[in-house]
Symmetry: C2
Subunit: 200 residues, 2 copies
């Protein structure tokens, strides 16, 4: 597809089109917008991206991605409340932070257990999490994993691995989403919500 006919601009469009949510068409539109604002937007964006590409690393404590050795959550003493939330990836950590409902720290697994893909407990940092419970005196480990087969297999493995520690193991409640209509919910969710029903 002839687009910009300029090799540099075409290479940029092609890389942009690999971003989720952008196709070849919207990547071209985005690059056109950038070309129209080379000084105000394109140069700062390139610089910010290069900076993050160069400095972003996994937090050595929790596995969150940040541009510091220790991520802002692990670096914040106010977050040391004895609770650690186990999430599958950084996207889930960001989702938890957006909900603004959790004041503790995290452990980012970076995936789920998968014998097929060679992902075992060490790859997910589970021994490191067990050590953290003792070292940081954690009182509660909240398993915030997806309600999928892989997520729940990993959750059960974690519960076993942490059974010997003094920390309480909990998991996110399953039930009707806020604003959710029963009519649109799958049977599994309705069943789980019914089993976990509470006094009104």
């Amino acid at each position: 597809m002839a687009r910009a006919d300029d090799p540099g601009i075409e290479a940029l469009i092609e890389l942009m089109a690999r971003l989720p949510g952008l196709g070849p068409r919207s990547a071209r539109r985005a690059v056109l917008a950038l070309l129209g604002r080379r000084g105000q937007l394109m140069a700062p964006l390139a610089q910010a991206m290069a900076h993050v590409a160069l400095t972003a690393k996994d937090c050595r404590v929790c596995g969150n991605i940040s541009t510091e050795e220790l991520c802002p959550i692990c670096a914040d003493p106010a977050r040391a409340n004895g609770e650690v939330c186990v999430v599958e990836d950084v996207a889930d950590l960001w989702a938890m932070e957006r909900a603004n409902a959790f004041q503790g720290r995290y452990h980012v697994l970076g995936g789920t257990l998968s014998a097929l893909d060679g992902v075992g407990p060490v790859e997910l940092g589970i021994p490191r999490l067990v050590r953290r419970v003792g070292e940081e005196g954690l009182t509660e480990v909240i398993l915030a994993l997806a309600a999928t087969v892989d997520g729940q297999t990993t959750a059960h493995y974690l519960a076993d691995a942490l059974a010997e520690t003094p920390a309480q193991i909990t998991s996110l409640a399953q039930g009707v989403p806020v604003g959710g209509e029963l009519d649109y919910l799958d049977d599994g969710t309705i069943g789980a919500a019914l089993r976990a029903r509470r006094r009104f």
Copy 2:
């Protein structure tokens, strides 16, 4: 909105969200994807963007944007067929090139005449276009401007300005789009298509 909690990553999300087609949510998703592929995607993208931001310039002949002093179309001797197509902006030039139906060169106005915004003939490079007709021995100037009031005002000005040159002035045909159903067309288009009807 708490998002990444990391100033570098947050700045990147904020800049990404300014691209057309990306909102705060999809910008975050795009940055997460970049963070997961820092070496394979993020670093090359940052580099390609910096390169274009630094080298992109308006072609001194036609106003197309490219990373060379002379854009690939003006640099291609095969495109010197005596035809020049006048478009409003680079997006329109790219659209023409995608259609793969035009083998001549371009003149990019960079806007339309607007007394209110202080955009006059010189800002649109119209005297330069008139000179090109003589210098390059152009035989036809195709006005490919939008069928809006501004576009048509500019087209009429161009036709007047070029009236003294030997070049023939033409404009894109108006009519029913290929694949278009009459039922969904506006009255103006149907009227224009009817007035420009041709023997079948």
